[in-house]
């Protein structure tokens, strides 16, 4: 059970300053797979970050009566100078998991070979993210939090293992997923949480939640259109980065 006690969150700066949550009172079950939906995709990410503890609420308090995972793809907290093996062991120890099992498992699955005993800082960014994905799913948690990274799973050849792990965990553990992909959400989730206008609504039925999201959206644009626009923006941004 994750309990939000009158949580208020003001996110963004300048023009983008907005209230993501306004004194929200909510309790989320830890044995269900919950999709976090909403007309504003950014806000659902902020919500996941709030649960993960990466950002703190402006007011109110979050009580976590379950072991929550870190976000797969989280890159903070690793030590560049130490070997990948020591880093993996450190994270396992931090979360109270069995160190030997996790290290052996990750060594096998991550397929890093000799790089597993080289400094963590030498890995490429894609590999770091991949390692973080695998590590998150190999440690047993009650609830797995998934933000932006989840749709990425299965994109690439080496992500297939992470995807398989994720699917295995999805059968037995709770999950809270912020995803803009309705297909993905339909496949894995059985409950929906809709964030709109600073409020949160929890739906037992996922279809209801999806329908409500469309209703709550600003008029004139369907979810598909917004997704397309967002994808366009993201591509533009990526192109900009590449140009630089």
């Amino acid at each position: 059970m994750i309990i939000l006690e009158r949580v208020t969150k003001v996110a963004g700066a300048g023009d983008k300053r907005r209230s993501v949550l306004r004194a929200v009172q909510l309790s989320l079950p830890s044995d269900r797979r919950i999709a976090v939906l909403g007309p504003a995709g950014e806000d659902t990410k902020v919500f996941i970050d709030l649960l993960a503890g990466i950002v703190l609420p402006t007011a109110g308090r979050i009580v976590r009566r379950a072991r929550l995972s870190f976000l797969p793809g989280h890159l903070g907290g690793f030590t560049r100078e130490l070997s990948v093996r020591l880093n993996v062991a450190h994270v396992a120890r931090l979360y109270g998991a069995d160190v030997e099992t996790i290290v052996n498992f990750v060594a096998q699955v991550s397929d890093l070979g000799k790089d597993f005993d080289r400094p963590y800082g030498d890995l490429s960014n894609a590999r770091k993210r991949y390692l973080s994905d695998i590590l998150a799913f190999s440690i047993p948690f009650d609830v797995y939090l998934l933000g932006d990274g989840v749709v990425r799973l299965g994109d690439k050849r080496y992500n297939r293992e992470a995807r398989a792990l994720f699917e295995a965990r999805a059968k037995t553990s709770g999950m809270i997923i912020a995803s803009e992909d309705p297909g993905f959400v339909r496949e894995f989730c059985d409950m929906g949480l809709v964030l709109a206008q600073g409020q949160a609504w929890l739906f037992e039925n996922l279809d209801q939640a999806l329908a409500f999201t469309d209703q709550a959206a600003p008029p004139g644009k369907t979810r598909e259109e917004r997704r397309a626009a967002r994808r366009k923006r993201r591509k533009k941004r990526a192109r900009k980065v590449l140009d630089e």
Partner: protein
Amino acid sequence: MALTRALRRYFGILGALLRREEESRRQSPFDSVVNLLEPIFLIMLLSFLFYVLQRRQVSPLGGPPVLYYATGFFPIYFFIYISRRMRGSIDAPSRRFPIEQRLDHIFVHIILRIIDYSILGILLFGAIYLLFTDEAIPQDMTKIVASLVTIVGLGFGWGILNLVLSRESRVWNFIFPSISRILVLFSGVFFVPDFLAPDSRYVLSFNPLMHAVQLFRLGFYPQYTALLLDVHYLAYFAISSVFLGLMVERVTRRFEAR
């Protein structure tokens, strides 16, 4: 039961962080040795300098000057080393795992400093014992430990304040070192506060570190009267510092989380 489980989990986190520090140190052993030798070197150098400048063969409290300066510098540098560089142990929440809290890193920082300083103290006073005088063996261990415990409290509180202020303004990074150097001057390292004029004694008596140094010296010089020493003032100041530090950490936590 829930409490023991929570405690075990919490100590598991601290243990993991400590172990990682130890592993990083093993990666670069030279750095750690240099870090440890720095205060020894400073104490030796300063003692030598004052010995040459003052041309004094005996310290104000008897015995060789080296022991006198070492007993003064050691607690002061303990304070400086705990309260400074605390910043290095802290990162934004996105730079660490959600399960690690800012306070955990501060605790790990302090535990490491305490271990370092215990080793350093044994080395330093052992060396003085071997090279200079038999008096380098503490007469009253409780007083020394009490003094160091209050210094840990002071260093904890002021270290957090230091950390927060240095985030707020860069100027603080220049102000704090000067303050700590001035503290060395006014903490009775070079002189015996009891021998000063009453007015200066009164002003100096507000400096908690002066009391800590006096207490520390009492452990080595049992014949020393230490009239100015007020253990209650020192203890209250240390406890208030701890609470001040915890309060500042709690209040600023939200602003640091960006």
